[in-house]
């Protein structure tokens, strides 16, 4: 069980806003997080990953406290080791597809399996600048999964994929998430997207 209760002041278009979220995610669940642009969806994921620190809050993951502002406790992103798919992919321009995965894991069989899932076997030696938008996005997903995280945070992970590729990769990913007992949070700005994939939903909006 992942339990999150955080409060973070953010500068927004209408002045300062407060992002206030209290939610629980059962282990192994897949949750869709949606809300309007600028509502703090990305910030929420980054707070969980330890990339942004909120003013107030507590995050507990399977009985381990990741963050407790009252106790001034905050595990580093390295200690939390969440799989994170960035909205802008955040691929490393100097590394090939294969090197991206090797940077994350030293298990060659796992790397080959990931390359097959992402249909990137023939692009293993390509650097990101020679990949299409969809291929880059798939690589970002594979890299995040390469560390076999217990918690996978995905920020608009399927936005650059065509409908066919999207359903193919989702069909591959879903059983894999179950196999690895991953808890998955997927941010999307479109409430209709991901229907059938997720089993829970969290709507984010600002509290003025």
């Amino acid at each position: 069980m992942i339990s999150v209760d955080i409060e973070k002041k953010l500068r927004a278009y209408k002045g300062q806003q407060v992002l206030k979220i209290a939610a629980q995610f059962p282990a192994g669940s897949i949750t869709k997080i949606y809300g309007p642009s600028g509502s703090g969806k990305t910030t929420f994921l980054k707070i969980i990953a330890g990339l942004i620190t909120p003013e107030k809050g507590k995050i507990t993951v399977n009985d381990t406290v990741w963050l407790d502002t009252d106790d001034k406790l905050s595990l580093s992103p390295q200690e939390r080791r969440t799989g994170f798919v960035f909205q802008n992919y955040a691929l490393f321009p100097n590394m090939t597809v294969q090197q991206h995965l090797e940077y994350a894991t030293d298990d060659p069989q796992w790397i080959n399996r990931l390359l097959t899932i992402g249909q990137l076997e023939t692009f293993a030696e390509h650097k990101p600048e020679y990949l299409s938008g969809g291929q880059q996005q798939r690589l970002a997903i594979l890299r995040a999964m390469a560390i076999k995280p217990k918690l996978l945070l995905m920020d608009e992970p399927f936005s650059a994929l065509d409908p066919k590729m999207k359903s193919e990769i989702i069909a591959e990913l879903k059983p894999l998430w179950a196999e690895l007992e991953m808890t998955v949070l997927i941010v999307s700005h479109n409430p209709q997207e991901l229907q059938g994939l997720t089993d829970r939903e969290l709507v984010i909006s600002f509290e003025s």
Binding site: A49, G50, L51, P77, Q78, F84, F86, F92, R143
Partner: protein
């Protein structure tokens, strides 16, 4: 014709560049990340040699490291090291004088990299050091090369600061730029011309190489 000043200049520029590369990479990384007031002060101090007359910097270094008082006396008495009128002094002065040329391009390149690159590396469990070596550094290679070449070329051309702290001791502190001045003073235009031509050629080739190696990525040598 005595080519010692040319060799001395190349030796000085090589050592200065190496020292600055070792200091510059971590310092530029820290400056690119820090938001403290302390950072602004450090940054201002590093930038000062760009605008300060070299003779002023040389004068202060001369005062600071004079073996008669202060730090200079302590260094002389404790470690038997003398920075004034010595080659070590030239290295120290050059490191301070050329520092903005090493730090500037590296810091600005690091700041231009998306923050998400290091964040992605951290979430993969990599330390800050691993991230710097494997992700950040390889992606700012053209700027590091620019910084190295500019630092080297700039050190070749030092005059005021070197003259103030090093003087004009043949074989020890008489670098090429001082040899040019000295030759002109002695009406030896032929030697001045040779030294100048060698310095001009080396510097020109180095600046050209920045553009060639970076495949025209650099819009200006100071980028």
């Amino acid at each position: 014709m005595d080519l010692t000043p040319i060799w001395l200049t190349l030796k000085l520029a090589s050592i200065t560049t190496l020292v600055l590369l070792l200091i510059g990479l971590p310092l530029a990384y820290w400056l690119s990340k820090s938001r403290s007031i302390f950072k602004i002060i450090i940054e201002a101090v590093i930038t000062m040699p760009l605008v300060l007359p070299p003779s002023v910097l040389g004068f202060y270094l001369l005062l600071a490291f004079s073996p008669q008082h202060g730090i200079g006396k302590w260094l002389h008495d404790t470690f038997d090291v003398q920075f004034v009128f010595s080659f070590q002094g030239l290295i120290l002065a050059s490191v301070i004088y050329s520092m903005p040329f090493m730090i500037g391009p590296i810091k600005s390149a690091l700041q231009q990299l998306p923050l998400s690159l290091s964040q992605a590396s951290y979430t993969l469990g990599k330390t800050e050091r691993q991230t710097f070596i494997n992700v950040l550094l390889p992606n700012i290679r053209p700027s590091v090369l620019t910084a190295v070449i500019l630092t080297f070329a700039h050190t070749l051309g030092e005059f005021g600061v070197v003259l103030m702290i090093g003087g004009n001791i043949p074989g020890v502190t008489r670098v090429a730029s001082i040899a040019v001045y000295d030759s002109v003073e002695n009406m030896d235009y032929s030697s001045a011309n040779t030294y100048s031509l060698i310095l001009f050629s080396i510097t020109f080739v180095m600046v050209i190489s920045v553009f060639v190696f970076n495949k025209y990525k650099a819009k200006s040598p100071l980028e």
